[in-house]
Symmetry: C2
Subunit: 337 residues, 2 copies
DNA sequence: AAAAATTACGAAAACGATTAAGTTAATTTT
DNA sequence: AAAATTAACTTAATCGTTTTCGTAATTTTT
């Protein structure tokens, strides 16, 4: 491994001068600096990240906490999309991405411990159980931090705008003439609550009241449970004219059930989705759904975190809402009023 | 930050003794060791990874090279599944996972450079362009390395067993009585070649020859191109009785096209897939497909790499083939002969 | 009881960088 | 021309560990 010392010997200057030249400090001569940089490149010099981190107390690496609650893990396109753009943005700014776990080797350590051990400059919580004391410990720690899709008062949050998104989707469905709209939602989380509240509120603004039986709980990404919920809805005396599903997989479960009943989408019943991914674009009929902007969320999270890292004194936490957009498929039929 | 020095002062022993006690070295007294560990835990001591890495020249971190050729990136379940299990296995052995890029900050550096800069103990190439000089540089470097789904002579490879997998799938289809089997494949890669060769060979072993027109090129994960290929197949005078698709998304494209022709699966025509993911399990009819064992691949890759890292002298590169398994859906109809 | 071996510790160097402070020599100011 | 400033370096300390070697005290062997 080539070190500063090798370069300094080859150039007949001190190690300090080499370091300064390579870091573009001012107090080193034009000619000397050129010579040093030339030799460094010839020798294939690369700084030692560990040594640098030890001395400067900055690791130029970011920890990403991704705790998989649902079992789908990174397999979910929304999260892998976020991770992807996060990575690109961070790397372009000189930061590497490392995962945070609570089991580094045999000696289990807390998330916060892991973050301190690796000297992460900052942390992004992409997905976690926000009641977990370990997560709270991390949130309460001194490290720069950005949380996704959940808001802690003292911290920067980047959230998908579920309220305006669901509003837009609901408005669209109502504009198509639907009045009896059912809503199948996933597990009870703050995200779920926001979407549901926005749905009900938007309906109310149009003078539409949703009967209790039209709101059904299922599980995210679980065709089976959404299929079950769909069956219940189809068994109602007063059936809905449109059903909203929480995601593409739930939609598939619903579709299967609807077809089992000999019904046709959108001829006999309309459906819409939320959190549309690639899938909803290739299925037939194409699902009308609201797509979240995972790319923008990941990018923004990285940008805000780095801003926080690099301006620890002046940085002020904020909540950034990232809007998605409606994708009009063919699954919602216009009703003549 | 509490350091060894703090503990040493509090315990009235030298820093060396503290270090040894905490690392479980033998030459420190029973009682002293207990006292040191107690104080360390009380003070919330965590070793400084950078200092440790600097001194020991071991970073306990693994670089993962993931270059996205197709644009689907981590969004592909096969890769995110691999990454997930990779991560779990590595972390349980005390290694962290960091992504390798070629742009760490403004000063662009090669993959190999990045790996040296971060002092990765080893590298896993999960997906990359194997003709890229930068990738070859990494493969030719001295760092412990495992490659996925591609074999370099001098390196350990963990590959999905495409040959036996495709053989099993083809055997199944033939056993159901099919003789006119069409094969739609993705871009021309070594993986594609292996699958295709295995398909043709298995057919040949049963005395079945596949006409040229039955082999169609499309793109992986692209319903449009597989739909096009399907249309061509359906336009043939002698239509196939079964079509094999390279993945679930291609299958969807094919399905849409088949239905457009007023045909029914599996009544009028059978279909099968490869690389089945969650999707194929929830669609109706359920796709008969061959599922690769992403979890096992990721886990094995991490295990082999760490074996290499920890036994640099005695480790011998090898190629590990991971078998998947056939998932019998309802998309292949048994033909009466 | 003397010699040998073992145990339990400490001193100090080293890993590779950064940086504050000091030192010349050259240049500018007055 | 003397004083002050500036430019271009160097010295040396430091970050937090690990590890080799040395040493004193204790125990075992003969």
């Amino acid at each position: 491994m080539v070190t500063l010392k090798d370069i300094s010997e080859s150039c007949k200057v001190s190690v300090a001068t080499v370091s300064k030249a390579l870091n573009g400090q001012s107090d080193v001569g034009e000619e000397t600096s050129r010579r040093i940089r030339k030799v460094a490149s010839e020798l294939g010099y690369l700084p030692n990240a560990s040594a640098r981190a030890l001395k400067t107390n900055r690791s130029h690496s970011i920890g990403v906490l991704f705790v998989d609650k649902t079992g789908t893990g990174l397999r979910h396109e929304y999260f892998s999309g976020i991770l992807d753009s996060l990575k690109v943005e961070a790397e372009s700014r000189g930061y590497d991405i490392t995962f945070i776990s609570n089991s580094i080797g045999r000696n289990t350590m807390s998330y916060a411990g892991h973050a301190r051990y690796r000297r992460f400059d900052g942390v992004i919580i992409a997905s976690a159980d926000f009641k977990d004391p370990q997560v709270l410990e991390l949130v309460d720690s001194a490290i720069p931090l950005v949380v996704l899709d959940y808001v802690f008062d003292s911290r920067t949050a980047v959230v998908s705008d579920n309220v305006s998104g669901m509003e837009e989707l609901t408005e669209y469905i109502i504009a198509q003439g639907h009045r009896r709209i059912a809503f199948i939602h996933g597990e009870d989380t703050t995200v779920t609550q926001k979407r549901l509240a926005s749905f009900i509120k938007t309906c109310a603004m149009h003078g539409i009241s949703i009967p209790d039986g039209f709101i059904r709980q299922a599980l995210y990404h679980d065709p089976k449970s959404s299929g079950l919920a769909t069956r219940e809805l189809l068994g109602l005396a007063e059936k809905p004219t449109c059903i909203i599903y929480p995601d593409d997989f739930s939609y598939i479960g619903g579709m299967n059930e609807i077809e089992k009943h000999g019904l046709n989408v959108p001829g006999d019943i309309s459906v819409a989705g939320y959190d549309g991914i690639l899938l909803s674009k290739v299925l037939r009929p194409r699902l009308t759904t609201f797509e979240q902007n995972a790319e923008e969320i990941g990018k923004t999270a990285a940008a805000k975190l780095i801003e926080n890292i690099e301006n620890p004194k002046t940085y002020i936490p904020e909540t950034v809402s990232v809007k998605g957009h409606l994708i009009e498929g063919e699954s919602v039929k216009a009703l003549s009023l």
